[in-house]
């Protein structure tokens, strides 16, 4: 008997030891650190910074490609592919590589959330309208750089189960973007709440958003002058009637701070912490010098303190010596070349999306085309705004006095030509490089002389677009091929750069 009790006791002891405090799952699989929804204000703030971008794509597509192809900047190292019309897959595709996850996904999600709230009777009209305008600002840069891109099906893997988005024809993307701008501008309602200070661009000012929306309509309408002048005229007139930007304060820009993290910083300013090879292009410096442009010493400086001297595009560390007439064994002093005013763009500088000056040049062009308004008035207002914008919006060290602007305008009166508008438009978009590159391809001004560096992939012509992100060949091949065929494009990525896009009709 005693033995049995002992056995029972010891058995229970062993079992109790192993079975103590066994329990079920409870909330084990609920991630304590994340939520299942987010305040749209937080997401709009986030999205503004995301579209402003990181160092990654600002380095690659903005600086290495756009700024050098457009001859605002120049650089010697061969990895500055745009300077030499070389093809670098990783740089060419970088905006496309990043923007769909970092920008498009959040934008699509935000608009979906707001549409659901609107349908549920919440007062989110102003938030939705601003989000729709910002979506157009984001998307037109993508299509202007790459042509047909995923648009209507992009970023919808979660919402609609579209894992492999199709590429929309650029003509349809433009049609939808213009429709979106028109609807969004009409959606604002002064009686409803705004994002307030969660909106870094306009602080919730719906009038400014409306002006921005119509100004984008003006930009996109004008983009169609080559391919569809009738539609261009109609949209431009609609935009002007809606009311576009009319002061420096209306310019669309995202403010940045130096940290605490990468997302807070201006991506271009961040590049310049690491890469100092970019110089002012000889084309840009020479043009300003020839015209006694007061911007010259405001936006550019020479490290050696010598006279302004741009670096020609299309040279490397060896060939530049021939150009300069130096002996091959001589040391090259890069300090002799003009560089961007170091205070102009820092990690804490704003990122520009649309200068007011651009609007004036678009209006000048519209007037010159006979679509209403006085071209000279808009031209003069544009030049004044363009010359003062770096001082007004960026840094006081880049300020230009009104007297200098007056003198400039007096010395260079508007002659009514598209060339003059185009040149000023090009200069005014310095630091807004995606737009400068797009407008150059449309307007053909200024008449840039292409470079012919050995091994370039464009037969010595300025690229008409950048090649798609190559990851699409691996991960979305069917939809990519469909887009290539539709656009009559070669399948080799390095041969894509010479193919004009829909609105760039030759």
């Amino acid at each position: 008997m005693k033995n049995i009790f002992k056995k029972l006791f010891l058995s229970l002891l062993v079992l109790a030891f192993a079975l103590q405090s066994c329990d079920d799952f409870g909330d084990t699989n609920i991630d304590p650190l994340s939520a299942n929804e987010i305040n749209p204000d937080f997401q709009f703030s986030f999205l503004q910074l995301r579209v402003s971008g990181e160092r990654y794509e600002n380095w690659r597509t903005v600086l290495i490609y756009s700024s050098t192809m457009i001859q605002h900047l120049a650089a010697l190292p061969t990895y500055w592919s745009g300077d030499k019309y070389l093809y670098n897959a990783q740089y060419s595709g970088s905006l496309m590589e990043r923007c769909y996850q970092q920008q498009v996904l959040q934008s699509v999600d935000l608009i979906n959330t707001l549409e659901n709230k609107l349908a549920a009777g919440e007062e989110v009209a102003n938030k939705l309208a601003a989000a729709r305008i910002w979506r157009v600002a984001m998307f037109h840069r993508i299509t202007d750089l790459y042509g047909d891109v995923p648009y209507s099906e992009a970023g919808k893997a979660y919402l609609e189960g579209i894992d492999f988005p199709s590429y929309d024809p650029q003509s349809e993307i433009y049609a939808d973007m213009l429709k979106e701008l028109e609807e969004a501008c009409a959606q604002f309602d002064a009686g409803q709440p705004t994002y307030g200070s969660a909106d870094f661009i306009y602080g919730g000012d719906i009038d400014k958003w409306k002006k921005y929306g119509y100004s984008l309509m003006l930009r996109l309408g004008m983009r169609m002058t080559k391919v569809d002048p009738t539609a261009a005229e109609s949209w431009v007139k609609k935009a002007i009637a809606g009311g576009v930007m009319d002061s420096q304060d209306d310019s669309a820009k995202v403010p940045h701070t130096d940290g605490p993290e990468g997302i807070n910083r201006n991506g271009i300013g961040e590049v310049w912490l690491a890469d100092n090879s970019q110089k002012m292009s000889k084309t840009f410096i020479d043009w300003m010098e020839a015209n006694n442009d007061p911007r010259l010493d405001a936006i550019s400086y020479v490290p050696n303190g010598t006279a302004q001297k741009g670096l020609p595009n299309g040279y490397d560390a060896t060939t530049i010596k021939e150009f300069l007439g130096l002996d091959p064994t001589a040391e090259l002093d890069m300090g002799q070349f003009s560089a961007v005013n170091t205070s102009l763009v820092t990690t804490a500088s704003p990122m520009i999306f649309m200068f007011y000056s651009e609007v004036e040049f678009l209006l000048a062009e519209a007037a010159a085309r006979g679509w209403g308004g006085d071209a000279a008035t808009h031209y003069n207002a544009g030049v004044r705004a363009a010359m003062k914008q770096y001082g007004d919006l960026f840094d006081a060290s880049a300020a230009v006095a009104d007297a200098d602007v007056d003198a400039y305008l007096a010395a260079h009166p508007f002659d009514g030509s598209m060339r003059m508008i185009g040149q000023q438009h090009w200069a005014a978009n310095f630091l807004n490089e995606y737009e400068a590159y797009a407008n150059y391809r449309r307007s053909g001004f200024p008449e840039l002389v292409p470079v012919d560096y050995p091994g370039n992939v464009t037969s010595g012509k300025i690229p008409r677009r950048l090649a798609y992100f190559e990851g699409e060949r691996a991960n979305n091949p069917d939809k990519l091929d469909e887009a290539l065929q539709r656009q009559g494009m070669p399948s080799a990525f390095n041969q894509m750069l010479t193919v004009p896009m829909w609105w760039d009709k030759q």
């Binding site: 299942n36 190292p77 999600d109 935000l110 492999f164």
Partner: protein, 1021 residues
């Protein structure tokens, strides 16, 4: 040496001792040469009492009247002898493969090997202590058929990759579950290099010291592993640590092992042309900087040519830069253990210290293991086992791999022949310039000075780990037992990662610190019976387990050091915090029934039900059954004289697996620290979640034959298996335009079929000379059957990408696991390479270029014993796999590869299709630069045969040490990875993947493989 093995088997006795013997038998056990055998198991048949022989081969045991004794020792044939009236019973055991071998199976249950319906391989602890690997898992290479061990090019302290019978999950974990003394331990890889660089932060199994291992048992198939449930779907490796044993006084064992290691230099770059561009030498220092990584200059002619630092040096080959940069590494391991015990308890305490200096300057690791184990018996039948280890690992400067920033290997392999790497060390000898920042020698800020990378970057981590385990086992009756167990694995990893102030690509520097806490607790119980009913035997149990895992991460990072060179996170201008919590739980119930008939027919059935916290609550469980049959032909039928033993086995089993926590919902979160006083928020998931996940299912059929011939002189163990994974939980790569990186889905199907052969032969066996040969061969044919869409059979799943962005690892339907795809030459209809207007090859489409995993592995070991000398070597080979050698691609781009000599004078280059293209000689670099982007050129056959291991040991004769306090002394010469006997790939070592992740087949500037050679001393007293 093998006799130490028996300390373990002796445990069996302690668990089954009985006190009601009635008389005493004693005697001596010897081998056929009359040498005393230590540690022989002596068991009373049908009872639970027994003992083991002491160092003189003597035993003494109290037995019942009419008892029979069974004597067994691994490596010898067992004998069962009736005691009769004798009080002294001397026995001679014959050497041979032990037939009644007891092996450890799932959940730590010991079974007769002949009862098993599946394949199990045991590797003795000695196999890991003679010629050592720092990560003990790497020492399995070539030793077990069907176990594929990859040597990863990460340097010491790096992770292992062990895959048993092929990869069973397309994107999930494919490594086995490691179980130490019955408790699962964590083997998570704490970080790997990827296409953008990084370093391997080590894994879990690297904590284990080989000195503490008694045996490692590999449970290969699903049937073997079924009782471990989900986490065992990739097989199980059971590690049994050493125990003490009954003995007089305290036993002491000391061993010391010292090895040198240096690089296996497989590089053969061209030495005819020097640095420069378009056929010209650098004319100025800025030229030399601009083209510092390019050997497109002139023929080396010995003339004085200016270099990056403005100093002119002879334009001639400086000899081997790699051997200048990498140093001779060393590893010193010292261990000591104390053992003791009597009939009621035994213990072992072990301490091991390992100090390693890696071949990359300023890198290395230290590891200290403290281990204790105590077995004690209470109240006759209650046994308690308490074991635990404290492990402290410190790794200094884990080398960066793959992409260039901070990767010393990248730079060391990218220098033209006329640039002496030692000049890059600069005025201070550590890669700094006068300002203390990085000494620039080229114009690409992302290609870091190798000395600066080695001496100023930091990637250190240390791990404090505690493994503990308490088991209570109570034999209620002779035939009924119950057992309870609690085990814990907990560790803290502290990590510091520094990009120093003055680094070219980040001039103001950055630093991150993190503390990672892992804890897993397993609780289990078991109730079992073991009884014979005449010729029918029953062995059965039921049990349950609860696994809880908690992970917490606290970290911070900062950039922009305020005070130059004060490299502390508190000195950074911009800081951010990192915090994460992960919890997971699995509850399980399981049971097993084994029926035997007349000791020759065994039928075993098992079942396990798992419930996971990570799956949707309404569908979070799955039942895994298994059935195994073993038929010992040689016991059932009269066999020819030549057949010593013959067994057929067959089994079928299913196991499943789950996914990571928090995969089911789209997650939103906050980013950074806000902006201008506003919060930043949005979708944080980069993987598209799924609400409908189910457990994956892995089904395996295995048949096998175990045959021993000619009195155990020949052994054949053959297995065939067919395993299929269904409903695999995948992270399918999505196009970036979808908004996500990957999608979590539940549809993958994968098949692995293979054969395994183990052939053991003893060609010579005399009193003084013995030759044993063991050959293992495995062939695994993997096939990706189905991916995302069951309707579409052309699907692809992206796994990884090379930094060159021209080669990828994919899963592709109808293809083997982990195939290499990449850009090809564009060819016309006749197969000729198409040229563009400049005479350069046109880049074609992405196509399949090879398979990243070797289907065939083999190992051949020869062991020779002559008197007290023992000589053994192991050949390890793998065949049929390929590797994309990015190092060779860069060697084309930079003009370093021998092939790039073609055309430098004439401009004529013979292309792979046999045609010739003609360029201006100064433009030849454009041709090779273009080929850099054509992955087809760099995917090569990675097959190899290596002389993996070599040992020569001498044991002092017993007669020599008899009068000393020592009971055994042995001395050894040991080596690992001594030679590559066969390889096909250019320049690189065929074992050069830089990650232990599933995507195998990409190489790029890893730490070179090393050969090591050293000494081993072992003393027992």
């Amino acid at each position: 040496m093998e006799k130490r093995l028996l300390l373990f088997t002796s445990l069996v006795l302690f668990l089954s001792m009985s006190a009601w013997a009635q008389r005493t038998v004693s005697g001596k056990v010897t081998d056929d040469s009359g040498e005393a055998l230590i540690g022989v198991n002596v068991l009373e048949v049908g009872a639970s009492n027994g003992t083991i022989t002491d160092i003189d081969g003597m035993y003494s045991l109290e037995v019942k009247e009419g008892a029979s004794l069974q004597f067994s020792l691994i490596g010898y044939s067992s004998q069962t002898v009736a005691v009769g009236a004798q009080s002294t019973l001397d026995i001679t055991l014959e050497e041979g493969v032990q037939l009644d071998e007891v092996v450890v199976t799932a959940l730590g249950i010991e079974r007769d090997k002949k009862a098993l319906g599946y394949s199990v391989t045991e590797v003795s602890g000695d196999d890991f202590t003679e010629a050592r690997e720092i990560n003990v898992a790497n020492a399995l290479a070539g030793k077990v058929a069907g176990v594929n061990v990859s040597n990863i090019a990460t340097g010491p302290g790096g992770s292992s990759r062990v895959v048993i019978r092929g990869n069973s999950s397309l994107t999930g974990n494919n490594q086995p579950l490691y179980v130490v003394d019955g408790i699962p331990i964590d083997n998570t890889n704490l970080g790997n290099a990827g296409m953008w660089g990084g370093q391997d932060w080590g894994d879990g199994i690297s904590s284990i010291s080989p000195d503490d291992i008694e045996t490692m048992t590999v449970l290969k198939g699903n049937t073997a592993a079924a009782l471990y449930g989900a986490r065992a779907s990739n097989g199980v490796i059971l590690i049994t640590t050493k125990s003490g044993a009954k003995r007089k006084g305290i036993g002491v064992e000391v061993s010391s092992n010292y090895t040198f290691e240096n690089i296996v230099n497989t590089y053969d770059f061209q030495t005819q042309y020097g640095s420069g561009n378009r056929g010209a030498k650098p004319a100025s220092a800025s030229d030399a900087v601009a083209f510092g990584l390019y050997a497109w200059g002139d023929q080396l002619d010995g003339s004085q040519v200016i270099q990056w630092d403005g100093v002119s040096r002879p334009y001639s080959d400086v000899g081997n830069n790699l051997e200048r940069f990498y140093r001779t590494g060393s590893t010193w391991t010292n261990s000591m253990s104390l053992t003791g015990g009597d009939d009621n308890y035994n213990f072992r305490i072990g301490v091991t210290n390992l100090q390693n200096e890696g071949i990359v300057p300023n890198s290395g690791l230290d590891r200290n293991n403290f281990t204790g184990k105590i077995n004690a018996k209470f109240f006759d039948r209650l046994t308690a086992t308490l074991s635990g280890s404290y492990i402290k690992e410190d790794v200094r400067n884990r080398p960066r791999l793959s992409d260039s920033p901070g990767n010393a290997n990248y730079t060391a392999w990218s220098l033209p022949a006329n640039v002496d790497i030692e000049t890059l060390a600069g005025p201070n000898g550590d890669g700094t310039d006068e300002t203390g920042g990085e000494n620039d020698f080229n114009d690409n800020i992302y290609v870091t000075n190798p000395y600066f990378a080695a001496y100023h970057f930091r990637a250190d981590n240390s791990k404090d780990r505690l493994l503990g385990n308490l088991t209570l086992h109570y034999d209620v009756f002779d035939w009924l037992y119950i057992q309870g167990r609690i085990g814990m694995d907990t560790y803290n990893e502290r990590r510091t990662n520094l990009e120093p102030y003055g680094t070219n690509y980040t001039p103001l520097g950055s630093i991150s610190e993190r503390s990672y806490d892992f804890r897993e607790v397993n609780k289990d119980f078991m109730i079992g019976v073991d009884k014979k009913f005449g010729t029918i035997g029953l062995n059965a149990f039921v049990g349950g387990n609860q696994m809880k895992q908690n992970i917490q991460l606290v970290g911070g990072s900062g950039n922009t050091f305020n005070i130059p060179f004060l490299e502390q996170i508190t000195n950074t201008q911009n800081r951010s915090v990192d915090y994460d919590i992960t919890k997971e739980q699995i509850n399980s119930l399981y049971g097993s029934v084994e029926l035997s008939y007349n000791n020759f027919l065994y039928l075993t059935g098992t079942a396990r039900q798992d419930w996971w916290s990570t799956l949707p609550t309404d569908n979070n469980g799955l039942l895994y059954p298994s059935v195994g049959l073993s038929f010992v032909l040689s016991d059932a039928f009269q066999m020819p004289q030549a057949v010593t033993f013959a067994k057929l086995r067959a089994s079928w089993a299913q196991v499943g697996g789950d996914t990571d926590p928090y995969q089911l919902l789209l997650a939103y979160g906050l980013f950074g620290q806000g902006h201008l006083g506003q919060a930043l928020g949005g979708i944080t998931s980069s993987d598209l979640p799924s609400l409908t996940l189910e457990p994956l299912l892995n089904t395996e059929v295995e048949v096998g034959l175990d045959l021993r011939l000619f009195n155990n002189r020949v052994g054949v163990d053959f297995s065939y298996y067919d395993r299929k994974t269904e409903r695999d939980i995948l992270k399918a790569g999505l196009p970036t335009t979808s908004g996500f990186n990957t999608k979590v889905v539940n549809v993958g199907e994968l098949s692995n079929k293979g054969v395994e052969l183990l052939l053991s032969v003893a060609p010579v066996r005399t009193t003084n000379f013995r030759w044993d040969l063991s050959f293992n061969l495995a062939y695994n044919k993997s096939e990706v059957v189905s991916l995302l869409d069951p309707e579409n059979d052309q699907e692809l799943l992206s796994q990884d990408e090379s930094r060159t962005r021209t080669a990828y690892i994919f899963q592709m339907e109808g293809q083997p696991y982990s195939i290499i795809r990449g850009y090809t030459y564009a060819r016309d209809d006749n197969g000729n390479i198409m040229l563009d207007a400049d005479g350069l090859p046109v880049v074609g489409d992405i196509e399949n270029l090879g398979e990243g995993i070797h289907p065939m592995t083999l190992g051949l070991r020869n062991t020779f014993g002559y008197k007290n000398f023992n000589f053994s070597f192991l050949l390890d080979g793998k065949f049929g796999g390929d590797i994309y050698a990015a190092t060779n691609a860069f060697a084309y781009l930079r003009g370093l590869h021998q092939n790039t000599l073609d055309g430098r004078e004439t401009g004529e280059i013979v292309m792979p299709d046999g045609n010739t293209t003609k360029l201006e000689p100064e433009n030849v670099q454009d041709y090779w630069g273009r080929v850099y982007g054509i992955a087809e050129e760099f995917v090569e056959d990675a097959s190899f045969v290596k002389l993996r291991q070599f040992t020569l040991t001498y044991s002092l004769p017993r007669s020599f040490i008899e009068k000393t306090p020592f009971s055994g002394i042995s001395l050894g010469l040991v080596g690992r990875n001594l030679a590559i006997l066969y390889k096909k790939v250019d320049n690189i070592d065929p074992e050069s993947t830089y990650t232990n992740a599933n995507a195998q087949g990409l190489e790029m500037f890893g730490v070179p493989q090393t050969r090591s050679f050293g000494f081993d001393l072992n003393v027992k007293f």
